[in-house]
């Protein structure tokens, strides 16, 4: 026995006797921007690059090694390394020439933060009407749907103002408070989407409580290349016809990109002939939801300069949407407004139209390993809701002009962000940032909902990354934010006169006529985070993130007073509201091998100041209004978990994703509204042909999504019964000489299942989800 021990000891000593070297490096892309989450393999050692693109592998002995660097958006990088001493290298990854060549698979990189990267191929093949709904099968992500063409992302049951959306680093500023507003971003022109789950406040400031949706569409094309795509789309569920086009060219240091898309759709086909709402039978003629037709067009142009140490881009994009509202969605449904108008493509009153214009200019300078970047942005969001003039107040006259403009909001935002990346060593880097924006909202229209306001916000943060060893990385961050908002008051004299004529006292008439108070308020917030990643070997990884998050109250939460037709309620703001504050703990445990991947992700959120609408128990005196809902603050708790698994066996690939959320506000223990129930998603993908003469990547799949009954409901929500919906799909890439068009056929809701979604705007009206959809998409690269 001792003989074995001694030889073991010698072996160990002998091993330790060899010189140990370190290989470290920086991984950047074509425009010198760091690539995070790239998998670096050297012999038996494996690690991944940090958010600054740095990696280190120590404990290496002398010799020749093959270095391989892979990442879903880039071509594989291979290099033979001769190691004689400590070595630091710089690696530049080339973008995949054709984004469509990627397999539509999501990747969970080994970064400290809980992020999931979704490729453009995945978004377009899973396209189901909007960007947010294409992300629904990502663990932890759901979509709050408004009919067929609009949706907003929900991360872990938190949506609207609790998910920050950033485009090329700049926060997207639409009107997120509304339940009938979607995300004004073109799904087709996105290059990379990253979903950050959990508090992302250090980099994104206010609103990044549930997480953040980080969209990138400004990357530079490969040097000396010209490439484009044409996409054609058809969807049967609402007779969509759509087309998208993009072209990008780069000659040495200069490049340009152009993209455009257009979608036109008719009324949405559902799975029922009648809806029972407020005990009345509402007919749904031809099973189509009347007036839910719409259209959307997008256009984007970008030019840029890619130098050795200086890069700059200028981007201009516009999104325009017009979509009808189901006439039964506003007020008491009138049977004569729901009569079949024999035209499923017309958009009649009431409808919404939005135009979102974005202008972005960014600059980046590299000083050896350090970087300075500046991003300037301008956004204008013009949202109008059109409806034939109607009023409950006999003394309100029809406006002389624009008598069909019910609401008209014009929101303009100017932003300026600066980031500094300091590289101290290959083990330690610091990121410093300063972000500010100024926002102005003006209103028009015969109906009042949201006051005019001006808002200024600024934040500064520091995020320090440290690699302790090959197995342990951690980061620490701190951020300070200051915001000030000033609301213009609005006094409704028409309402005052009407109420006094109805014999209400002057005092009461006054209270109701003050639709929004004149208010100026400041908010100061300090937040921090700590993250740790432990990778004992190439297969296991454990990450823990602890942090705080916040959001400043919206103009509606502070100063509303009146009926919000989007939620059919009289909502009353509270000017004494403080910033919402949350604390998150998120744990990820993952195991990944060649053919098998599994991840478990439990999390816990505690809100010390959660803003919600509390039913007051007091009736509103306004016509068509029930009780007044009062914005209030309370403590709240949210917990849950996600489970993901991927198994590859022969030509089969099986994916299983399960999510569960449990939440409640701690005032009277009611669950939070619009919380998705437990759900399980399974997909089986079979590769028929990998690569043959005329076809490659020919695959078929079928998938099923099960939602459990949601009976943990808030007051005045409906219990949503369980559902199981199946999808089927087929995709293949053709090879015609140099052209490789891709065809994707899919059938969503295969069995035309009649089911409800708990996170749908139309749930309150007992409107079921859409029926069977047969979708055809053809992508032709050139």
């Amino acid at each position: 026995m001792y003989k074995h021990l001694i030889s073991l000891l010698f072996a160990v000593m002998g091993y330790c006797g060899y010189s140990q070297f370190t290989l470290s490096g920086t991984i950047v892309d074509a425009e010198q921007k760091p690539v995070s989450g790239a998998v670096v393999q050297l012999g038996q050692h494996q690690t991944s690059s940090s958010s600054e693109g740095f990696f280190t592998i120590s404990g290496l002995s002398k010799g020749n090694f093959t270095l391989s660097v892979t990442h879903i958006n880039y071509q594989e990088y291979l290099r033979i390394i001769e190691l004689k001493s400590n070595l630091h290298i710089k690696i530049q990854l080339l973008p995949k020439l054709n984004l469509l060549e990627e397999v539509a698979v999501n990747s969970t990189s080994q970064t400290i933060e809980n992020t999931e990267k979704i490729s453009n191929a995945s978004i377009t093949t899973n396209f189901s009407g909007s960007l947010a709904s294409s992300l629904e099968n990502t663990a932890g992500v759901n979509a709050f749907r408004i009919g067929s063409g609009a949706a907003k992302p929900i991360i872990r049951g938190l949506g609207h103002n609790r998910v920050a959306v950033a485009v090329n680093g700049i926060k997207h500023q639409g009107q997120p408070w509304g339940s009938d507003h979607g995300l004004e971003i073109d799904a087709f022109s996105t290059e990379e989407v990253e979903v950050i789950k959990g508090a992302a406040s250090i980099r994104y400031g206010s609103d990044a409580i549930g997480g953040a949706l980080v969209i990138k569409n400004n990357s530079a094309p490969q040097k000396d290349s010209i490439q484009g795509n044409i996409t054609l789309l058809g969807r049967s569920v609402n007779q969509t016809i759509g087309a998208a086009f993009d072209l990008k060219e780069r000659k040495n240091k200069l490049f340009y990109k152009l993209s455009a898309s257009y979608l036109d759709y008719g009324d949405l086909k559902t799975t029922t002939d009648t809806i029972v709402y407020l005990t009345r039978n509402i007919p749904i003629h031809n099973r189509k939801l009347k007036n839910t037709a719409g259209m959307e067009w997008n256009a984007m142009g970008q030019i840029g300069y890619m130098g050795e140490n200086y890069q700059s881009t200028f981007l201009l994009s516009n999104n325009r949407t017009k979509a009808g509202f189901f006439p039964g969605a506003h007020g008491v449904p009138e049977l004569n407004r729901l009569q079949d108008d024999k035209n499923s493509r017309n958009i009649n009153y009431p409808y919404q139209q939005v135009n979102h214009l974005t202008v972005q200019n960014s600059h980046q300078w590299n000083f050896s390993e350090n970087k300075v970047s500046i991003a300037l942005g301008y956004q204008n969001n013009r949202r109008q809701e059109m409806s034939e003039f109607h009023t409950h107040y006999a003394n309100q006259n029809t406006p002389e002009s624009h008598s069909d403009v019910e609401l008209d909001f014009n929101l303009t935002t100017w932003s300026a962000d600066t980031t500094l990346m300091l590289h101290h060593s290959s083990f330690s880097q610091t990121e410093l940032g300063l972000q500010s924006h100024y926002q102005q909202n003006t209103i028009k229209g015969y109906n009042f909902l949201l006051p005019e306001y001006k808002q200024f916000a600024t934040g500064m943060f520091a995020l320090h990354h440290y690699k302790l060893s090959n197995q342990i990385k951690f980061n620490l961050g701190v951020r300070y934010d200051y915001a000030s908002i000033s609301l213009s008051g609005f006094y409704d004299t028409i309402l005052y006169d009407y109420l006094t004529s109805q014999n209400y006292s002057q005092e009461i008439a006054n209270q109701y006529a003050l639709r929004s108070p004149e208010l100026s308020k400041n908010f100061s917030n300090l937040n921090g985070k700590m993250g740790l990643l432990y990778t004992p070997d190439e297969k296991w990884s454990v990450a823990l993130n602890l942090g705080s998050s916040f959001r400043t109250p919206t103009a509606i939460e502070l100063g509303a007073n009146g009926i919000h037709h989007g939620s059919f309620r009289h909502e009353k703001g509270d000017s004494s509201l403080n910033s919402e504050k949350g604390y998150t703990a998120d744990l990820q445990i993952g195991f990944s091998s060649d053919k098998f991947r599994i991840g478990v992700n439990p999390y816990l959120y505690y809100f010390s100041n959660f803003i919600y609408l509390k039913p007051s128990g007091a009736f509103s005196i306004l016509p068509h209004a029930g009780q007044i809902y009062q914005y209030a603050q309370t403590r709240a708790l949210l917990s849950g978990g996600e489970f993901e698994s991927e198994i590859t066996w022969n030509r089969f690939q099986t994916t299983i994703i399960a999510e569960y959320i449990y939440n409640k506000q701690l005032k009277d223990n009611y669950p939070l509204p619009f919380t998705p129930p437990f759900n399980l998603y399974t997909k089986v993908n079979y590769t028929l042909i990998r690569d043959s003469k005329h076809l490659k990547n020919t695959e078929i799949y079928f998938s099923g999504k099960y939602f459990a009954t949601q009976n943990r409901i808030a007051q005045n929500e409906e219990i949503t019964p369980a559902s199981f919906v199946m999808d089927l799909g087929f995709s293949t890439t053709f090879k015609f000489g140099k052209t490789t068009p891709k065809l994707i056929l899919s059938v969503q809701n295969l069995w035309d299942t009649h089911y409800y979604s708990h996170t749908s705007f139309y749930r309150a009206l007992e409107i079921p989800e859409q029926g069977r959809n047969i979708q055809v998409m053809l992508q032709i690269p050139f």
């Binding site: 008491v332 109607h390 006259n397 439990p602 039913p615 009736f619 016509p623 029930g626 009611y670 808030a714």
Partner: protein
């Protein structure tokens, strides 16, 4: 396998925590409203008395109600410029308290002699102690002799 054991312990704890049932589940059941009088599409003459009878019930405790009558015309396009005659649309509202698990409201309301004739919405809102709200509407036809 040691890390796996710790992992399992954490998951189990969190699962147990989240699955713990509340001893008192909050009340999310809406009160029910039964509009006995007027009946749907009932006709009433202007100047006449309208009899109202509404029955309410709740699983825990009723709190209050609101009755609202307003002109719906021909599909809610209240176009004020069209009003040619002396009649004005009638607006009626009343609120009251409710108690117990079952309660009934009886009242009469006089339809004004100059009420605009046409279709009206007769609506009832009910609230229970927990803030759950229910709404019911019937149509009322106001006619002249």
């Amino acid at each position: 396998m040691k890390p796996f054991k710790h992992v399992l312990a954490i998951i189990t704890t969190l699962t147990l925590f989240s699955c713990s049932s509340d001893s008192t589940s909050p009340d999310t059941e809406k009160p029910t409203i039964s509009i006995v009088k007027p009946t749907d599409e009932q006709s009433v003459l202007s100047g006449e008395n309208l009899t109202i009878e509404i029955a309410f019930s709740d699983n825990v405790e009723l709190a209050s109600y609101k009755i609202e009558i307003h002109y719906s015309g021909d599909g809610h396009s209240h176009n004020r410029l069209n009003s040619q005659n002396e009649d004005i649309p009638w607006n009626y509202h009343s609120e009251g308290n409710l108690s117990g698990k079952n309660d009934i409201i009886h009242s009469t309301v006089q339809v004004p002699i100059n009420a605009e004739h046409g279709m009206y919405h007769f609506g009832v809102y009910a609230l229970d102690r927990a803030g759950n709200q229910n709404i019911q509407w019937v149509e009322l036809d106001v006619e002249h002799e």
